[in-house]
Symmetry: D2
Subunit: 291 residues, 4 copies
C-alpha cells in the first residue's frame, strides 16, 4: 500500500511501533517552529522507511497567513539548517524542479527565479558594486520530462559536468499525507531526490551517486492524495474503506488558495537559500539584487 | 449542517426520500452527455432544496482529458441549453465572476476574456466585415469584493443601469460535494447567483429581483470541501466522523491539475456562450474574432 | 499635425514662442526631482494647448534603474502632489484604465491591483485590526472598449452612481514625444482624462462634467509615436522628412524593457496613492495589507 | 559604426555597391511571401558582412494581422525551409533562447513550450497511440546568463553531450534596422548563433564548432535600435544626425503591440518546427498533442 508521502517524518509515524533499529530522531521547539531531525542509518531502516540513508530535517511552522510572517523565526531556522548541510566553499548549483505551468508543482521554478545567480559576475564588478565577496552560484529550472523529452537528471548532470559545483541544492514540491501540512512543513535532506517520486512517477535520482557531489534537497508539501486524505480523517474512527474506491486512487488535491501558498513558500525558501549562500549580504541587499 | 454544494442536483440527491412536492426532475442521456432538468416550483421545495424557485439544468460529461473533446457533443448540448434560456432580442451582458488570481476561482474572468464583445461595433463596420448581423453583447469581469471594496452586485447593477441589457449571463466557479464532478459538470439556471455563496461568503444576489432582467447563471464546480469529500467516501461505510474534525472545516480543495481544468472549462463555456449569442457566425469566425 | 503627446508640459514646449496668455507655469527642483506646475486658465490657452483648463503637475525623475529608488524622494513628492488635489473626506474611487494584456498599456490595471480597497471593511473589523481609521476606498479596472463593448466612461459612471465617491482617481499609461521620458515622468492633473486619447482613439471624457465629482488623473508615459520619435531627433537638424513616411504613421513604440518599466512605475504610483489615501498607515502596514 | 542588425539581408543591403565576391543571393516571390537565399562563401565576404560563412534564408511576409493568416502560405514555406536544412535522421534538440520575462525577448521560450517533445515516449506507447513513428525530439529553454549565472552555450553543450543529437535548432528574437520588419521577417541559417549578439552582448557561439553538430538558427526580429530607426527614416533625406545623440544609443524599442506579435510569431515558428520534425503527423494531431 502506497501512502504517497515524500516526508520522512510521516513515514516514521506510519511505521509506529514497528520501528526498527537504525532510525534515530529528535525534536526541538522554539517559539512557533518545531525542528525534527531524523537519521536513517541502516539498510534495514532504509528499507522500512522507504527513504535512503542520510539526514532528514523537518521544519514545522504555523500555516502561512501573512507576508510578514516570513520573519517570525522560520526564515532564520531554515537558513541555519541549509547552512549546516552546505560545504564551506565552491560553486553551488541550485535546481528548481517541477512544472511552472501546474501551480502546485511550480515551487521549484519559482524559487529558482528568485535565487541570486552570481557565477557570471566578474570579481571586478563585485568590487565596483562595493560587495565584499559573493559565493559562486548558478541556477537552473530544467523543466519536466513531459515537456523536454529529457530526464531531469540528464540535464542536471550535463550542466554539472560543465560547471563542476561543490554541491547541488534541489527545490521541489512534495506530497504529504496530511492536508494540514501543505505549505507549513519544510523538509531538508542530504540524500537527494527522485524528481516526480511524490506523485508516483519516479525519475532517476539526483544524488551523490549520480552527480558526484552532495545533493541537498529542500521540499514543501503542496498536494495530498485524495485517498490518503480520507484515510487520515477516518483513521481516528478505524475506518479504512477508502482504499477500495478506485475513482480517487490517482487524484492529488491541493488547497483552493494554492497560488498564495506557492507564492509564500517560494519567497521563504528562496530567501533562506540566498541568505545561506551569501552570508556577506544583508536581506535588503539580496532583495535589491534579485529582480 | 452545510454540505457546501452549489449544485441543485446534489442538493436533490441529499434530500433523498425526504423529497417534497414542488421538485420535478428528468434526465436524458445522449452519447456521453447526461442532461438533468430540475424545476423548483413551491416555497416548500425552495426551502428544502436551499435553491430559489426556477430551472436548473445540469450537464454531466466525462472528465475533460483532451482539447479535442470540446467537440464530442458537449459543446452542442451546452450551446442549446443556453439558447433555450436566452431572450430572442436585445443586448446581453456577460459577467465573469471570481478572482483571476486564485486559479480555481478564475473561471469567470477567463470566460469573460474569450466572449466576443460586439456592442461597440458600428453597423457600418459589421457590414464592412461582411458579417450578417451580430447580437449586441457587452462583457465585464467586475473583480471580487476583497480587491474592489464594492459588492459585485453593485458593479453589475451600475453597469446594467447604463446599458439596459435584456438579459445577464453570469459565469462562476462552483463548489461540489464530489471530487468526480470537478471540471466535468456544468450547471445552468435561470435563478441568478449569489457571488461567493459556494464558499460560504454569500454576496447580494444577482437575479431578476436585483437587476430587473433575467439572469442566466452558468457554473462549473472546481472545488470540494475537504470535509464533504471525506464524507462522500465514508458514506458508503456509514461513518460520519469527519464533521467533528475542526481543522478541515474551512479547507476547500481542488485537483492538482486545476490550471488545465480551468483552461478547458473556460474554452468550452466561452465558446458555447459565443455560439448561443452569435448564431450567424461559424465556430471558425468566432475563433478568429476573439483574440 | 498631431504630435501625439498626453503631457501638458510637452504641449507647452511645442507652443514655444507662440505661447498665449492664460498659461502659467513654474518649476522647482529638489535633489533629483523636478516638479513643474502648469495652469491653463483661458479658453484661448485651452485651444492652443489642446488641454482643458485646470492644473497639470509634472514630476520628472531620473530613469528608474533600481527598486530601491522608489524611496529616493520621488515617492514623497508624488504622494504630496496627490494629497494636494484630494478632497479631505469621502469615498475615493480609484480607476485603473487600460488593457492588462498589452504590456505598455497595463499600468492602470497593475496599479489598481495594488491599491488598498477598504470600502467593504466594517468599522468593527478595522478596530479589531488595531487600525486607527481607514479612508474609504473602492478600486476598479474597467477594461477596454474592444473587450467589453462598453465605453469605459459608462462603466465608471455606472459604478460612481452607486457608490457616490467624493473624488475619482484615474491611472493610465500615456504617450510622450520623447523616448527619454518613458517611465521617468509622471503627470497629475485635475481635469480628468479621455481614455485612449493618447493613442488617437479618444473615448468619452472622465471628468467633473461627466462624473459629477473631481477627477484626478495620474499618468506615466510608456509609448512614443515612431514618427514623433524621429522628428524629435532630427529636429536639431531641421529635417522634418519623417512626416511623409506612411509606414510609421501609426506605430507606437516602447522600450525593450517595458515589462520592468511598467512593474516599477506601477509600484511607485500605487504606493503613492495608498499613502495619500491612508495617512494613518505606515508604508509597512500598507505593504502587508495589499496582497 | 554598429547598425545593430542580426539579419544577413540587412547587412547585405548596407554593404550596397561595396559588395564583394563570395556573397551570392537570389530571391523568389510566391503570393505574399518573398524568400531570399544568401550564401556567404569567402573569408572576405564573412568579414564584410559580419556574418559567418553559410546559408541565410530570409522569409518576408505581410505583417501579422490575424490568427488565420498563419495558413496563408507562410507556414508551408517556413516548414519547407527548415526541412531543407535538417538531417534526415537522429534526435533533434530544440533550444528556445531568451528571457521569458522580457516580452520582446520571450520568443524562444514561448516556441520551446509549444514544440512537441517526443524523446521520452516509448515505442510501445507510440504504437498504442496509433502513431506511425515520431522523430525523436528534445526541447529546452536554458534561460539567460543574468538569471542562471551560466553561459547559455555551456548549458546547451552539457545537455548535448548527454543526449547526442544529430542537429540543434535554436530559436531567438532578433534585432532589425527597420521597424517594418518586426514580426514579419523570419531568418533561418545554418551557421548557428551567438546568444544575445543582437543587443550588443555577444555570448559564446552555438554552432557546429562548439556543439559538434549542425546548428539551425531560426529568428524573428522583435526590436529596433532607436538610433537605427531614426537613421532608417532620415536616410532618404541624407541626414545622419542621429548618431551624435547619446541618449538613444542603447535604447532598443519594440512596437506597443509586442505581446500580440510574440504570440503570433511563436505560434508560427513552433508549428513550422513541429511539422518539419513530425512529417507523419497532421497539423491537427500536432495541436492535440502539444498542450
Amino acid at each position: 500500500m502506497d501512502f504517497r508521502t515524500d516526508l520522512a517524518l510521516e513515514r516514521r509515524d506510519l511505521l509506529g511501533a514497528k520501528s526498527t533499529d537504525g532510525i534515530y530522531s529528535e525534536s526541538e521547539i522554539n517559539d512557533n517552529v518545531r525542528v525534527t531531525r531524523i537519521r536513517v542509518q541502516s539498510d534495514e531502516a532504509e528499507k522500512q522507511l522507504l527513504k535512503p540513508k542520510g539526514k532528514y530535517v523537518t521544519i514545522e511552522v504555523p500555516a502561512f497567513s501573512d507576508d510578514s510572517e516570513i520573519f517570525d523565526g522560520r526564515l532564520d531556522v531554515l537558513t541555519k539548517e541549509i547552512e549546516l548541510l552546505l560545504p564551506k566553499r565552491g560553486t553551488v548549483l541550485v535546481v528548481g524542479l517541477g512544472n511552472e505551468l501546474i501551480t502546485p508543482d511550480a515551487l521549484g521554478p519559482k524559487v529558482a527565479s528568485s535565487v541570486l545567480a552570481t557565477r557570471h559576475i566578474s570579481k571586478e564588478l563585485i568590487r565596483t558594486m562595493g560587495l565584499e565577496k559573493l559565493r559562486c552560484v548558478a541556477v537552473i529550472a530544467p523543466g519536466v520530462l513531459g515537456r523536454t523529452g529529457i530526464e531531469t537528471g540528464e540535464i542536471v548532470r550535463g550542466v554539472a559536468d560543465r560547471i563542476k559545483p561543490s554541491a547541488v541544492i534541489t527545490v521541489d514540491a512534495l506530497a504529504s499525507r496530511s492536508i494540514k501540512r501543505l505549505g507549513s512543513t519544510i523538509q531538508i535532506c542530504d540524500t537527494g531526490i527522485s524528481p516526480g517520486s511524490g506523485v508516483g512517477n519516479a525519475r532517476k535520482r539526483l544524488d551523490k551517486s549520480t552527480l558526484g557531489v552532495k545533493v541537498i534537497s529542500i521540499g514543501v508539501p503542496t498536494v495530498v492524495d485524495a485517498a490518503t486524505l480520507t484515510y487520515d480523517f477516518t483513521d481516528k474512527e478505524k475506518s479504512q474503506s477508502v482504499f477500495v474506491l478506485p475513482e480517487s486512487e490517482n487524484m492529488m488535491v491541493t488547497p483552493k488558495e494554492i497560488d498564495l501558498l506557492i507564492d509564500r513558500a517560494s519567497k521563504l525558501v528562496s530567501m533562506a537559500i540566498n541568505r545561506a549562500l551569501q552570508t556577506t549580504l544583508s536581506t535588503e541587499d539580496i532583495l535589491s539584487l534579485v529582480s
